[in-house]
Amino acid sequence: MVPFAGYEMPVQYAAGVMQEHLHTRAAAGLFDVSHMGQVILRPKAGMAALCAGFEAMMPVDVAGLAEGRQRYGLFTNETGGILDDLMFANRGDHLFVVVNAARKAHDIPHMAEHLAAVAEVVPITDRALLALQGPLAEAALARLVPDVAALRFMDVGVFGEVWVSRSGYTGEDGFEISVPQGWAETFARDLLAMPEVQPVGLGARDSLRLEAGLCLYGHDIDETTSPVEAGLPWAIQKVRRTGGAREGGFPGAARILQELAEGPERCRVGLRPDGRAPMREGTGLFAADETPLGQVTSGGFGPSVEAPVAMGYVPRAFADVGTPLQGEVRGKKLPVTVAALPFHPTTYKR
C-alpha cells in the first residue's frame, strides 16, 4: 500500500504488476478508482447556459455533446497551461464530471467559481468508482448489468443506481462504474468471483495507460504544458478553433489557437529506449550532439510491448518519429528513439 492523493492505494495485488497488466490486456482487470472526483453539475438556468459556462472554462465543445455521450476535457489557465484533465458526460438534465483525485480540491472550487451563475456544483462523495477494463470486461459486467453491452466507446448509461461509461485509462475496451458506496464491496466481489476478472493495482494502471500513450496529470501535463504541446489537439473540436462557430473564449485561447495554427515549440513524444534499461520520469533527453532537449515525464517497462517505453517533451524539430536521441540514465547517455503513440494498439469498441 502506498499513499496516493490522500488515499492508501495498493501498488499491486498478489499477482504482481506484470501479471495484472497482462491479464487486463487478455481478459478483464478490476480497478478501484474511488479516489477520483465525481461531480454533478446541475443547471440553474437550463442546460444551454450550463454548457456555455463550461465551455468558457475549456477549449472543448460542450454544447455539441449529445445526451448519453461522454467527452474528454481540459481545464486551461490564462497562459494556456492545463489545470486538469477530466471526463464529462451529458446525462440529459445535468452534466456528470470525473476529475483527478489529486486535483479535486482545486477543481471543485474552480468550477463553483466559474459556474456560479449557471450551475450547482455537487461533489458526489457517497459513491465508489470501479473500472473494469479488458476484452472480457463486457461479458463480465453484462452478467450484472445486461444493458451495458449496448454501449459504445464513450457512451454513458444510468441503470438504476449504477452509472456506467464505456471508457477507461488502459487503451482497452472497458467500463467505469459508479455505484453507491454501500454496494461497492458486494459489486466488486461479484465481479472478482468471475473467472475472467482479477484485481489490478496502481502499478499496472500506470503501465497500461503509459502503453496506451495516455497522459497522467502532474507528470505528462501540468500548468506549464499546453494542450497542443501535450499532443492533445484532438480534444479541441473545430467549433472552438479559429474559424469555428464558437472559436476561442476559453482561458489561454491566444496561445492555444496560435499553437494550433503554427505548431508548438515543444511536443510530447513517445520514446523507445534502444536498450533494456527503463528511462523513468526525470531522465534528461539530449540530441545526438549533446544539446539538452527536455525530460522524460513518464517512463517504465511496458509488459505488453516487452520493452521499456517512455514519454517526454522535446523541441518540435526533434519530435519526428524515428529521431535518434539520448537519455541520461545513471550518468550514462543511452540511445533512445522517438516513437509513435500509443505503444500498444487501443481496442475501443467504437
Binding site: 501498488v11 499491486q12 504482481g16 504488476v17 506484470m18 501479471q19 497488466h21 502499478g203 503501465s207 533494456r276 534499461a277 527503463p278 523513468r280 517504465g300 517497462f301 509488459p303 521499456p308 545513471r330
Partner: protein, 119 residues
Amino acid sequence: MKYTKEHEWLRVEGDVVVVGITEHAATQLGDVVFVELPDTDAMVSAGDEVCVIESVKAASDILAPLDGEIVAVNQKLVDAPGLVNEDPTGAAWFFKMKVADLSVLDEFMDEDEYAELIG
C-alpha cells in the same frame, strides 16, 4: 549461506564468494525487467554500487558486500532478468568475487538471524 542487511545472500564456492539477492528482496522488488552487471576484473570496496536492478516498480542497487575483485558475472540475467524472480537463490546469482580473507563472512547474518530480520 550468509546474509547482509541489504538482503543479499553470500555463498562460498572454493575461494570465491557468490552474491545474489534473497527471495524476500526479489518479492519486494516485483517483476525484474532490467539488470546491469559490473565489469569482471573490477576492484570494488564494500558499499560500492555494483549492480542495478530495475523492476516494474522501481530501480535499486546491489552494493558490494565486501572488498575484493569481481571475477565473474551472470550474463544470463541481462538477457532474462525474470530469472531473479524465478530462482533468486539459485540460477539468478549476480556476481562472484575474490576476497583477501574469507573469515570476514563470519560477520554476516546466518539463516536464522536473517529470518528474524525480515520477520
